[in-house]
């Protein structure tokens, strides 16, 4: 390996339990993909290439949550091979929708789906990558935002912090000029407690935010819960709304457990 080629940063993309949508976001960068491949080596990315350059890698993007004993070991190997680890998406940052098993007996889940439960090697829980290894940066979303992904790759290539705001979806609605769906239409919305990043799509399409990007910085869930109840929503409605793709995010988990009691 010559020094010159090694100057090109090496990117690896890893998959754990997930839908593939967040790694697909990289391939959905139709206008930038070939440019990216021109400045960094896409060294390991099974969904896109048979070619494989051995580690170590400068940047690893990790999609998916940890749900099996094998994957709990494999993520340690990813950490050892990687200078920086960035988790992408709700599965990797909060355990994903599959973290709903964390409130159930996983054996019941297995027997509902599978004819021969004995063959299933799975953990009791679905957990975020940061529960297992040190993570350098977490990119939220179900799915992640293409623009935030490009910003994050660029930041790590240039050894700076990514510029990813932690404020709520409400800020994006104001920037987009969308009238508040909760105030104007009386539609329950998770926007006030959900991190921005999607571009506040749902309110622009006449529906309430359903929390794809997980909790915003210091979310006041208690206050939002009172607003929701003022609109006629129940504790059960709040539990279901908080227990979706980011059910395992600590702030959402604590609040959904509270409303369930």
């Amino acid at each position: 390996m010559t020094t010159e080629t090694r100057l090109r940063p090496r990117l690896a993309v890893w998959k754990f339990a997930s839908c593939d949508g967040c790694q697909l976001t990289l391939l959905d960068c139709e206008d930038q993909l070939l440019e990216i491949a021109g400045v960094i080596d896409i060294a390991y990315f099974m969904e896109a290439t048979k070619g494989e350059i051995e580690g170590p890698y400068d940047l690893s993007l990790v999609e998916g949550s940890i749900t099996t004993p094998d994957d709990a070991e494999r993520i340690q190997e990813v950490r050892r091979l990687s200078d920086k680890v960035v988790t992408i998406g709700a599965c990797a940052t909060a355990g994903g929708i599959q973290a709903l098993r964390n409130w159930s007996n996983v054996d019941d889940f297995i027997s509902i789906v599978y004819a021969q439960p004995d063959y299933i090697a799975t953990l009791e829980t679905s957990t975020a990558i940061s529960d297992h290894i040190h993570v350098d940066f977490e990119l939220r979303g179900c799915p992640i935002s293409k623009h935030q992904l490009l910003e994050t790759i660029d930041a790590f290539v240039h050894k700076r912090q990514p510029n990813i705001p932690g404020h709520s979806v409400c800020v994006e609605c104001k920037m987009r000029g969308t009238p508040c769906v909760m105030v104007v239409q009386g539609t329950p919305c998770l926007g006030p407690i959900t991190q921005a990043g999607c571009g506040a799509i749902c309110p622009a399409y006449d529906r309430g935010c359903y929390g794809c990007f997980g909790p915003a910085e210091s979310p006041n869930i208690d206050s939002l819960g009172r607003w929701w109840k003022g609109l006629g929503e129940t504790d059960t409605d709040l539990v279901l709304a908080l227990r979706t793709f980011n059910a395992g995010a600590p702030e959402f988990k604590e609040a959904s457990d509270f409303y369930e009691r």
Binding site: G21, L24, D31, E47, K50, V113, Y114, C202, T244
Partner: protein, 434 residues
């Protein structure tokens, strides 16, 4: 003297999800063959229990980031079937339109990024771009046009937010849809050019006598509605699925495979749709198919790449027709109340029929869910292809044979992330010993 050899691929590249292949040969005889899936299960059918019926489209979309619209449509169809509601007119047209976007995006990804590199001898489309820059650029732009439809109509390309049981949250104006027209006109030409390009690839001589299963509709090339038919006499409504299909366990793989009762393996996806419904294609797509020499049916799975290109042309032409005929409906959705009922739904995902069945309780909560994705249905057919392919090609080196068998798996564009929430698996990364 007989020679035994093993070919193992521990992690298949350029498929969606985590799968593996293991083959053991004695001379040209297949002793053991497994198409394995080690993707971890996520238990969708289990955690759907107790969720509101209205949540099914958003939750099941998360089974697959590549074909979320298929999950949204099949689940909506099932809920509406349960309630005895038919979503028709312009709302149905909009469903068809967003589905066209998904077909274009998913097929362009497969044709250019996952499959073409096999035929031309590259590890990836990115490597291929060094020698075929115009083609890869064209593939990227085609994919982007599909995604543009999803973004406009669905809010975003992965896990669209605008689909709901009964219709949409917000329906677009005609003017908004018309902004798609210039790109779609370019895309139609590009798709036709794509079909010509891929039709010139070197295809192995290989035909199989498949039972093709697809949706069929009397007036259109079926995507979002129709009866389930086959070339061997199957002709049923979607709610008759359980009488005709079953899932069985194969002793050596611990995997549930969908099969036709009494008959066994069948084939879903672009080749099945084309072979059963090619007379319903739009004019330019029909001509593109003729020009590539496909004929009315296609039984060489390696040629599925040509069928996908033809279906991209169809989806572009159909999208243009739907936009031209569009009139904004007065209401974005119709009310649907499936409480205390059972509903069945199916639609044609890019990879084939996607079947959903739900039992809804009196409170409107899901009491039971059953989902059969296309890749689960194609698993047996994939293995049958591999078994049939090996004997005529055993003279190839391990490396060549492995390459062609991987290619044969990719003929199906298998989506392992989809299949796995329901497959029964053991994690077995290494090839077992003899």
């Amino acid at each position: 003297m007989s020679a035994e050899r093993e070919i193992a691929v521990d992690y298949l590249a350029r498929v969606e999800g985590e799968g593996a292949m293991y083959l053991k040969l004695r001379d040209d005889e297949v002793i053991d063959l497994k198409f394995k899936i080690f993707e971890p299960p996520r238990f969708f059918e289990a955690f759907l229990r107790g969720r509101r019926f209205s949540e099914a489209p958003d939750i099941t979309a998360r089974i697959c980031g590549i074909c979320p619209v298929a999950y949204q449509m099949s689940s909506c169809n099932a809920m509406e079937h349960a309630a005895g509601v038919q979503v028709a007119g312009q709302l149905a047209a909009l469903r068809r339109l967003i589905y066209c976007g998904e077909w274009i995006e998913s097929h362009a990804l497969h044709v250019y990024f996952l499959h073409a590199p096999d035929f031309l001898g590259y590890n990836s489309a990115i490597d291929m771009a060094k020698d075929f820059p115009e083609q890869v650029q064209m593939g990227l732009r085609l994919k982007k046009v599909g995604n543009q439809i999803m973004i406009l109509l669905g809010g975003r390309e992965i896990h669209p937010i605008n689909v709901r049981v009964g219709g949409f949250y917000r329906v677009p104006t005609k003017r908004e849809l018309e902004t798609l027209v210039p790109d779609l006109e370019w895309a139609l030409d590009a798709a036709i050019a794509t079909s010509k390009w891929v039709a010139g690839f070197p295809f192995p001589e290989f035909e199989r006598d498949y039972e093709f299963v697809a949706l069929q509709h009397p007036e259109e090339y079926a995507i979002h509605q129709g009866r389930i038919i086959s070339n061997r006499g199957l002709d049923i409504a979607v709610d008759e699925w359980p009488q005709h299909f079953e899932e069985t366990q194969v002793e050596w793989s611990n995997a549930l495979h969908a099969r036709l009762k009494q008959r066994g393996s069948y084939h879903v996806g672009p080749m099945a749709r084309y072979s059963l419904n090619s007379d319903k294609l739009t004019p330019a797509a029909k001509k593109a198919a003729e020009d590539t020499g496909l004929g009315p049916i296609c039984t060489n799975p390696f040629r599925s790449i040509v069928v996908r290109a033809v279906e991209i042309a169809f989806a572009c032409e159909e999208a243009l027709r739907l936009i031209d005929a569009y009139e904004r409906p007065a209401e974005p959705f119709v009310p649907v109340e499936p409480h205390g009922r059972v509903g069945y739904g199916a639609s044609e995902a890019p990879r084939g029929i996607l079947y959903h069945r739900y039992e809804i309780d009196e409170e409107g909560l899901i009491a039971d869910a059953h989902i059969v994705p296309p890749t689960s249905q194609n698993q047996l057919s994939i293995e049958d292809d591999l078994k049939a392919y090996v004997p005529g090609h055993a003279h190839l080196s391990d490396e060549q044979l492995q390459w062609q068998l991987e290619q044969a798996i990719r003929n199906y564009d298998p989506c392992i992330s989809c299949a796995t929430h329901f497959l029964d698996l053991t994690v077995e990364r290494d090839a077992p010993g003899s």
